[in-house]
Symmetry: C2
Subunit: 335 residues, 2 copies
């Protein structure tokens, strides 16, 4: 039986052209003990794969040159040497981009039901759906009445994010490119508003949609679209950072935007004010005083002498001319 595979011919520079890919004829390997032969039915293409085409350390291993690309595939078993699978079982798994894969039975799972459109196992019931669900509910935590904004809103992840947010009672604003997608958000998916980031009046329309600010921003795109959304963040807003698709093919310096780094290492970054810990103030004071007494915390202080030294002492904070805490002494009364 003839087989075909798609290999990475070279690493792309920007958007991957045809020269980045190479189709190859190959054969179908005979299955060994506990192995299956899977016929690929649907192959998923996903944005994160672009990162794997680069030779850079990240959460997913880079694709190797001259080897098949790989990702989520839905297929059917056409030959089984494993007790747990039989011919025509529908399965999903992370597999090489080949028409036929010969793999250990543990590499795939049977789908839960074949009564749904099978491509859903690569979208809403697959990795993109789980990404939307996990990121929105564990990090975004939308509350009824809050405003949830999602970028790449008509996409595989974004469309599920917005619909779950609606189920949870939030007001949902989606950002997508072009009138067709924006219309789909409000008319088909029930979003409260859609904003077209490609339109000339993007900033104005976004402002109109965000009169209540933003409580959750599900970040899929990064770049200047997100820079604009950030202006509307409400107090205690949450930003699940899923990806930054705007930068994946960019050859330009993307500026000091941190989103990509946060995703790569699954990092939590949180702005805070001391006021939010006010309930613990008494215990905090007690503990700090104890550590000072025990000699575990030392303090350096720069004391400027005299009320007239206030402006200079203030400037020292920024010039680095102070050492430790900067204070101005105004009176000798307690010396």
């Amino acid at each position: 039986m003839n087989n075909e595979q798609l290999v990475l011919a070279k690493r792309p520079d920007g958007l991957p052209g045809d020269d980045v890919f190479r189709f190859e004829e190959t054969d179908v390997k005979k299955p060994g003990e506990n192995e299956l032969v899977i016929e690929s039915i649907y192959i998923s293409v996903d944005p994160y794969m672009r990162g794997r085409m680069n030779d850079a350390k990240s959460y997913a291993k880079p694709f190797n040159i001259d080897e098949p690309l790989n990702g989520h595939v839905l297929g059917r078993v056409i030959q089984s040497n494993a007790d747990s699978f039989k011919e025509n079982d529908v399965v999903t798994g992370h597999l090489p981009w080949k028409k036929y894969n010969t793999i250990p039975a543990e590499s795939v799972q049977k789908v839960a039901s074949t009564d749904v459109p099978l491509h859903l196992y690569l979208s809403t019931l697959g990795m993109p759906g789980h990404t939307a669900y996990g990121g929105l509910l564990n990090i975004g935590k939308p509350q009824p009445g809050e405003t949830v904004v999602v970028s790449a809103a008509s996409g595989a992840v974004g469309s599920v994010v917005g619909q779950i947010a609606k189920i949870k009672g939030a007001k949902v604003v989606g950002i997508a490119g072009g009138p067709k997608k924006v219309k789909y958000l409000t008319e088909e998916l029930g979003f409260d508003a859609g904003v077209d980031y490609k339109a000339d009046d993007f900033k104005e329309k976004l402002a109109e949609a965000l009169t209540d600010g933003v409580d959750v921003y599900f970040e899929n795109v990064g770049g200047t679209v997100s820079d604009e959304v950030f202006k509307y963040l409400n107090r205690f807003a949450r930003i699940p950072v899923c990806g930054t698709i705007s930068s994946y093919n960019s050859k330009e310096d993307n500026g000091p935007r941190v989103q990509g780094q946060l995703v790569k290492s699954q990092v939590l970054m949180q702005g805070f004010l001391v006021a939010q810990f006010a309930d613990d103030a008494e215990e905090t004071s007690r503990q700090l005083a104890q550590w000072i007494q025990e000699g575990k915390i030392k303090s350096e202080v720069s004391i400027a002498d005299g009320f007239d030294k206030l402006p200079e002492a203030f400037r020292n904070l920024f010039t680095g001319n102070n050492f430790g805490k900067q204070i101005v002494k105004v009176s000798d009364a307690l010396d």
Copy 2:
């Protein structure tokens, strides 16, 4: 009795020069019922005050032109019309920058003990200490053996952050400006390493200190120093964002760095991968399937037909030519 106050004469452009401030003679207001007259002993100057000098909406109200600046003050009661205070009580509170303030008794608190150096109530036992404690332990959550990095490390907040991290068993790397401060970190405060961001070999020294990466980065400075630290973030690192002092006086566009916005609205931003929710995968699948069945989640799919369409389908993800989830159909076997 003569009094003196320091008012904001005009809003600064960059580092506040002398013309931003104006000293004024004034008088001491007679205390009414339940009021106190407080003599200022120590006045705290803090970086966040720079933001209040601008006429911009933020978490703290802008200072008003021609009115006294204000902030944390330690003082003593010199006259009391309140039962709960007597002469010579040592108090702290948020007060105008005046030598003498006549204020309601509720505006100040007595200090817990006068056996410690009193300036500690404006540093380690005051707002900076509470900021360090709350941000590091609630957001940073350092674990024994982890690496904690703190910028502005010899400052009022940073020095406490590093010492608490040591108490919690972490390896601590401090970043400060100049050899004197860096030496202080390791020789006086017991940090494991200090790195001088003003030195020519900053990047090399930082790399040497961060061979184990960064698990907690307590962000005080922003700007290019932080850009460099971000390169070393470990998986599941935490970044309490306290401030970005490098930008407070900057007249230049600071680039699309988000830290300032995160602080302003106390925002949580978290990079994630679907893998971190793997324990909930079964429940996620069940819930998504139910919502699909109930018609609460709809899915759009773009299906390209044929194995040879993989490269084009992949490019569609970035050009926006797809609609919803992009999939490539490789076989008709299940049609």
